[in-house]
Symmetry: D2
């Protein structure tokens, strides 16, 4: 089923909200390992490499001869696991872990994964990256049949479906459950004798398989987690695939063959770490290429190129090389920004007090600057940075964005579920340029993005409103939102 | 007085120590403000911008109509001041603050500055950046005359000298004390009705004066602290100068005219933030220039240039531009590195488990890489990074260092007081190249460094062993160390 | 159904374990209130008064117009609720709370009550004091039918039974569930529009109803919680009763009429606070009476009577008055004992280093002392205190115990589920006297206990092995344990 | 010099303040040990036994072969030393410790003792219990001569005096300093090779010497600290005495012979632990005797005697035995009262919500109660408890106080330095009775107090305004306060 959006009545006078956070967030990172004497320690390092995918909380679950143990809490991986003991207690030769992204206001340790379910006849660990589109209706139906949920997370739904399946063997029950849930999902499960991974039929989220030199198998959301522990990349998990790893080795199976790979393009643009490789494409390389293509498409007369740290540095250096302009460090990110700190009062903020990012007057003063950023969500951040550069004396600020305009929400794992928060949903490029105070504004073309990544098995729905699979519980709300705007 | 080192017997077989920390540390950052209703809040933001100069502890002292109040603790600025209340309690229209660098093992809140001394007839705040060369003998003499020190910090010495001076007015007593201490020092003092700043006769450490739009005067170790609060740079404090700021304005005076500006060249090379400007030279620009000159001096045939994040990125981009080679992101620094975290075991470390820095296989594999770093202290870090790149498949790794070989200790504020920890003190460039496993190793020439910075009012003693002022208590020890090696 | 134990083969040579904790613990305290603007604050104070019933964790759940909110954590009530905000956030005019007793090693915040279950069509709060005897078989059966438990606590079972009942109205479903669970239980439940309390058919655990001056109804495990908030006692909840409190008032109903009140006698002897009144009998008065009767039964020639603080002071003063001997403070409990502190090493312990209790040499030296304690579990504590008194110079130590020998386990809410840990299960009084090093040892007779309390609606099974109701899942294990000993 | 107060104009209409804390506080506890392999551990246990003498902060300083180390912080002993490591790091065979009483609002870790002073030629530890009467003038004079104080504590003064003395040997310098300070003081000092104790010429504060079975010498503020570590009492330190303990043994000397023992009578009445013995008199025994004498002096017709827990239980049992009335537990102190907890709002407090103390309705209802308390300071606490008992149904409440009326301040170590806070300074017994709402009020006579204690080497100045030694800096202020009232 494909939804296409025909026309939109775009209201004028959009006010850019005052707060500065970028409202574009990933929904988690997964890591699993089978067959290594230091399984939980390696999971700790693996999760640390995946920390950018979620900072609300983290957890590790280990399997010691069939006994599952877990430690989880709110906070960064290094905060949740403070002492050697926290890991040393998680004995066993297999383990899995999860980092969770913070949806504002709902910080509850009960939602931190992996979940651990204890039954009279065994235990099961479960972790999830993605978003289900039929979660609400499934949960309601399950509750009507006596199910009790212990968290507000959708992840539990799969567990109830598995426990209520009447299929005679466990993997059969899991497959049945996977065919019931819809949307974007990568799952990891740990039973007493196997580690199980599964990916949705569109493969929206990345999930890769690696191998340690001792033969241990590793599964992770991004390949950067393999590098940090010295594992070698083996292959990506395919759409509709279920992977079972146990003492007899690794086993690949399809729970459905009705698949169509459309990996989230925002992984390349913004989410993934530059050192990760997704479906054969290194992320830094794709970003640098997007900068090069952008330079060809934009062709701006200026004195220097600067990137917004840290996610846009690759694209900026590509732009600089292609354009022949010098690549300068015109913006400095304070490396000591804590998760919580005292904010300047409104009065001080107006006076120019800023904690995270500074413009380098000695570099930009009197110069025509090309400022490269990865994307524009609400426009708040862009406006703020343009302003920073102008206050530091930049003569002109030309904003170039290494992706097309974000105009539609995502229902498969990125935290934009409303068009209201997307400035490009209701404004022309010219209007956005005015709103952010830039001297010019250029977005990468959609074809330019595809060329930069180098393949077209991509989900591009945020750019064109074309959803490759059903929206289920979100459908009505989504259509209403289109009319509203 | 000038010390020159004639010849050194350099022993062979130097073993690079195993631990990975760079033993090159700054000794603190200062910030002061006079005449602003939100003085302590601005000090907080200013200290935050100076956080790179010291992470052991921080403190702020405010002056509310002559009453001095203080809050200090171990930790980062954002850790020491966790709640609005911590700042709100520090009322008053003037304030000063300090960030302190961690000398291993001596974490004691009593050493965290600003110091606050309460007397029956008034209070005084005091903070210090630098290192005194006659501290030991002054302290001994003072104690013999009944003085009691409350910390192991040398900073207290100035206070005792001031209190024991018989000069009739306060500034006269301060000048007398300043003429007694020797070495590298920038001091800030707060009395009930003035903020006082002073710099040593060589001006080893940077100290600048700025102004807010409301007329408030600001003093800070680096100009990046002005940018973060929206203050404008006015001028640098000069060697031998004492600056008194009170409600009548700012007053400049010299406590000595026997001065000779030799600002620490390592501030340009490594310590200062790239967005700071010291004695008219922007730090990023100087570093980028050092990369350009290095490219001319080195002339290496390779495929790409990469910088060691974060301090060497400016030099690397300069090298890339001058050489025409692409500037690539071949090393990724994990942005979530906490101050304390669980370390990989030796076994895991050998297996390649690393938490802070990753090499990007997709970028460097099969390539001849020029790796730009700012300096080599013990060689440990360089060897580790070369190894990372080779493991990630780099065909060749050419190390280029944007400063001359560090061969002599510093006694004026940098934490290298022993030649034993400097690999270049006892090894030739060829030997160091072997030790770090590089395919080639090139250091910037001393003239190249001077040219990159653009002026020669520099302390270069770590490179050439020529000390511009007396070593006092360190003299004997230093001369012995020369003979020992 | 009544179980009677015929004969026991008691092995000799029992070794008293070395650690000093008294292994006799209550399983929780309940508090609920309906109809007061400061419902959660009053629950906080009520729980504080019930703190002696459980120190592992605490929680409060409030109901604001049908919306249920909760705060819970490990720790004492004052530790879980540290800031005004913790309570202020729990808005609404009704609330319920729970303090949980620590079963060693299983400290998991998921087991801390009240439980809060959110369903698509409403929420429910649940808290429990007691122990179910058919929990294991119920849980197993429920899981086989797809139920997923989120804690290791038996309390959840009731929730699953309620959700799976097909009775058309909520109270009907609750009654059906109450008739399915067996053992000792007092439940509190909060729905959007009612507070529900229920007691098992034997009324093993105390549960009372009180009223505030504003008309608010209060339910609590002990009446001391009424005194602390200024509520008046109204009546005890009866066995088999279900009490529904809503805006229309209070409603009493029986979910079963097959009842037989046998309240736990250990509540009078040890658990309850002396200022509580249970089924019309003040606990201090019952304890003082037990001391008087003990004095008549024991008739020991001595110089003074001392009580083991704090639980035995009432009995000791009764003994003193009846015997005419002076009541002295021969043992001092350190009032600053923290929950965790550094223990003396074994070497120091042997040297006499003790943190919790001291004997007063100036009082007991050279004296013949009657030491009154409430009970003997393993004998460890008694031996330790006898030893303390002898080391402080007591000439004779006569131990008198204000309850009969504890020889059988409890399955209805006290943490003694194994006969192995009861010294009196396998030893004669003479043997115990030898084991604890006393000059004489006297237990209160069972009739003396009944007379002291003043009614015989008591569970006395720990003394005589006669269980007033079925043991279900424990039956087999219990019978085996009888044969083993 | 003896001050005698002639007449006082007592104003009427005194308002009892609303807050409930008893403003009668001890100023610290001392502990020292020389010659034991586990010196710091034993100091920890000793300080724990002295915890009632001060709860603001605690510290331990150990001496390992001349190297002094220290750990101190705000909080209870068990909070300051949380981990084995905290003690294990304090190696060495001698140690000293201190618990500090909290003077409101000045919680500063810099004031926590023992102080540790490091000099170029050695270190010195110092701790103090008491109050100097010439501190202000000494501090002023020292500062005028260049001294710098690092705390607001008077304790430092002794250190400055010692360092400025020109006596050739250390003990000579200490003696000179001891003869300069005035007031009430017990000092402990640790040098590299000796532990030194000293007491003021009046011996206001208790200080005793004990011995371990291994020969180690122990010094402590109270003998209860000996019992807890298994040490034996040897003797009290005498007024004007200086005691030096080193590897050659213990050495007694007098720094002055102008002495007159007047030990603080409040130590017997309120401060000391009942199991301590001071100058040969066990505290519990003295208190019980005071209760007996009070019964003879008061002769009240009533139904029962109850003590205010915990300090008045000894006196209450003495009263009960002498009068033949039953001793009952009519007041219960919540044993789980934390150092900080959420307070009832004023509205709830009026409604009867109380956290610390409950009256037992089942015991006192309809009864004529004699309530024994140790002292009345402001009357607030007494009024509150009388009210509690009346609300719980007591027919009559007769308050009997086991000490004479407190009418004059103390300048030697108890925290009452103003007559304004003493209700008995300005009110007759009849007026106080009315103010606290009692049916009768009886104070122990001064002779009764002396008889109960059993010797008259006592400071009774709070009762009669007769000060046994000069008031120095306080003199003017005190005389003014007499006229004011």
């Amino acid at each position: 089923m494909v939804y296409e959006v025909k026309s939109l009545n775009e209201p004028k006078g959009y006010e850019i909200p005052l707060d500065e956070a970028k409202s574009l967030n990933e929904e988690c990172g997964l890591f699993g390992i089978w067959g290594h004497p230091q399984a939980s320690q390696l999971t700790y390092f693996g999760l640390h490499a995946l920390q950018h995918r979620g900072q609300e909380g983290a957890g590790i679950l280990s399997n010691d001869g069939g006994r599952l143990m877990r430690h989880r809490d709110l906070g960064l991986v290094t905060e949740v696991f403070r002492e050697e003991k926290d890991l040393a207690d998680l004995t066993g030769t297999s383990a899995m872990g999860h980092v969770r992204y913070a949806t504002a206001g709902s910080a509850d340790v009960n939602n931190i994964q992996p979940f651990l379910f204890d039954f009279h006849n065994g235990s099961l660990g479960l972790a999830h990256n993605g978003n289900l589109t039929n979660a609400k209706s499934l949960r309601c139906e399950l509750e009507k049949n006596g199910a009790i949920f212990s968290s507000s997370s959708d992840t539990e739904i799969l567990m109830h479906l598995i426990r209520r399946s009447h299929h005679p063997d466990f993997i059969g029950r899991v497959k049945e459950a996977l065919n019931t849930v819809k949307g974007g999902f990568a799952y990891l499960m740990m039973t007493g004798n196997a580690l199980v991974a599964a990916l949705d039929p569109n493969g929206f989220r990345p999930l890769s398989i690696g191998k340690m030199s001792n033969g241990a198998w590793v599964v992770a959301s991004e390949t950067c987690a393999f590098d940090v522990i010295g594992a070698e990349f083996v292959q990506d998990v395919e759409p509709g695939q279920i992977v079972v790893i146990d003492d007899s080795g690794i086993h690949f199976d399809q729970y459905t063959t009705n698949t169509n790979l459309t990996i989230c393009s925002m992984e390349y643009i913004y989410f993934a770490r530059p050192d990760s490789t997704i479906h054969g494409v290194n992320v830094h390389t794709a970003r640098k290429r997007s900068g090069r293509i952008l330079a060809q498409e934009a062709n701006i007369d200026a004195d220097m190129v600067i990137g917004v740290p840290n996610s846009s540095l690759s694209a900026a250096s590509g732009y600089a090389e292609e354009s022949g302009l010098p690549y300068e460090m015109g913006l400095i990110k304070n490396q000591y920004v804590a998760r919580t700190f005292i904010q300047p009062t409104q009065e001080l903020r107006e006076q120019g007090v800023r904690m995270k990012l500074s413009a380098v007057r000695g570099v930009v003063e009197g110069k025509r600057v090309i400022m490269v950023d990865d994307s524009i969500v609400r426009g708040t951040t862009s406006r703020r940075i343009v302003n920073l550069l102008k206050e530091a004396g930049a003569a002109e600020v030309h904003v170039v964005i290494a992706s097309p305009p974000l105009a539609y929400p995502c229902f498969f794992g990125i935290d934009i579920q409303s068009r209201e928060e997307l400035i490009a949903a209701s404004h022309t490029v010219e209007e956005i340029k005015e709103a952010i105070g830039a001297d010019s504004l250029t977005f990468l073309s959609q074809q330019g993005l595809v060329d930069a990544i180098g393949h077209d098995d991509l989900c591009l729905s945020y750019f064109d409103g074309v959803y490759e699979t059903g929206l289920y519980d979100y459908e009505e709300e989504y259509l209403a939102s289109l009319n509203k705007m």
